[in-house]
């Protein structure tokens, strides 16, 4: 299944790691867009359709919380599933990101299988992936 993933994380090595884990998890045919913060993520979405968003929380200029708020305010983006990948696994943070519209939350460290399971769950719930 080919689909396009937007990775939003201020760490270039973390973005590279996520691409690597995606391949290890069996998503060999995915296409990737990358952004270093929420502002850059929104700019990418303005010019390119994506099927799923993987986003960090702690980022400069526009963090993951504000990024999710902006996504859910915009009818063009509100249905794009978003998965949070963060080191912060405190209950308050997880609950807040899910309330803001994230479809899933993975806390680091995580094995490739965890990302596979979450993406299968999230993408399986949406129509039109890979069209």
């Amino acid at each position: 299944m080919a689909f396009t993933v937007l990775i939003v994380d201020d760490s270039p090595v973390m973005r590279a790691f996520i691409r690597r884990v995606m391949r290890l998890a069996g998503f060999e045919e995915a296409w990737y867009l990358e952004a270093g913060n929420g502002e850059e993520g929104l700019a990418s979405l303005a010019v390119q359709h994506v099927d799923v968003i993987l986003t960090d929380i702690n980022m400069p200029r526009m963090n993951g919380e504000d990024f999710l708020r902006e996504l859910r305010k915009n009818p063009a983006y509100e249905r794009i599933p978003a998965l949070v990948i963060s080191t912060d696994a405190t209950h308050e943070r997880v609950d807040r990101m899910l309330e803001l519209g994230a479809q899933g939350y993975i806390s680091k460290p995580f094995p490739p299988e965890a990302l596979r399971e979450e993406l299968d769950r999230i993408l399986g719930a949406y129509d039109g992936i890979g069209d």
Partner: protein, 155 residues
């Protein structure tokens, strides 16, 4: 004597025990490396070690620091990025060390204080000078080199 980080901890384990558990889990899961706790063997300041720190604010607040021998920094960068040792740049070693600090810090705080609100700052590269004053420290040994973890509370 309990530190500010000990207060309200939601675990029976001591801070060094949690540091060991978390460091092992992070290294195995994200960096494909193994580590065992050892008695302290961190060096005097040395140019061939690298270090990174993450500050956290909230309840509790403080800083977590990691120091890695250069050999371990190269090995974890290779494991993290899936590349060969001769492909790893110095900048990638620093970036991966910052990610390691970030993950160990986030995982420790989530385990110690799961109901608290704690915000992590962006991780920074710092001089590799050992200073555990007022904090808790744990050294870990891997086949590739040494890792020193220090968590310091601020009041």
């Amino acid at each position: 004597m309990a530190s500010a980080i000990d207060v309200g901890m939601k675990t029976e384990d001591s801070l060094p025990q949690v540091a060991c558990q978390v460091a092992r889990e992070v290294l195995e899961t994200m960096f494909f490396a193994t580590a065992e706790p050892v008695s302290c063997r961190h060096p005097e300041p040395r140019a061939d070690w690298i270090a990174a720190a993450v500050r956290f604010e909230g309840a509790p607040c403080g800083e977590l620091r990691v120091m890695l021998s250069r050999e371990l920094a190269v090995a974890v960068a290779c494991g993290f990025l899936g590349i060969d040792p001769d492909e790893v740049t110095g900048d990638e070693q620093d970036q991966v060390a910052r990610e390691l600090a970030n993950m160990i810090c986030g995982a420790m705080l989530s385990r110690l204080h799961p109901d608290s609100h704690v915000a992590l700052d962006a991780p920074e590269t710092i001089p590799a000078v050992f200073d555990a004053a007022g904090g808790t420290h744990q050294c870990m040994e891997t086949p590739e080199g040494m890792l020193a973890i220090t968590m310091v509370a601020r009041r």
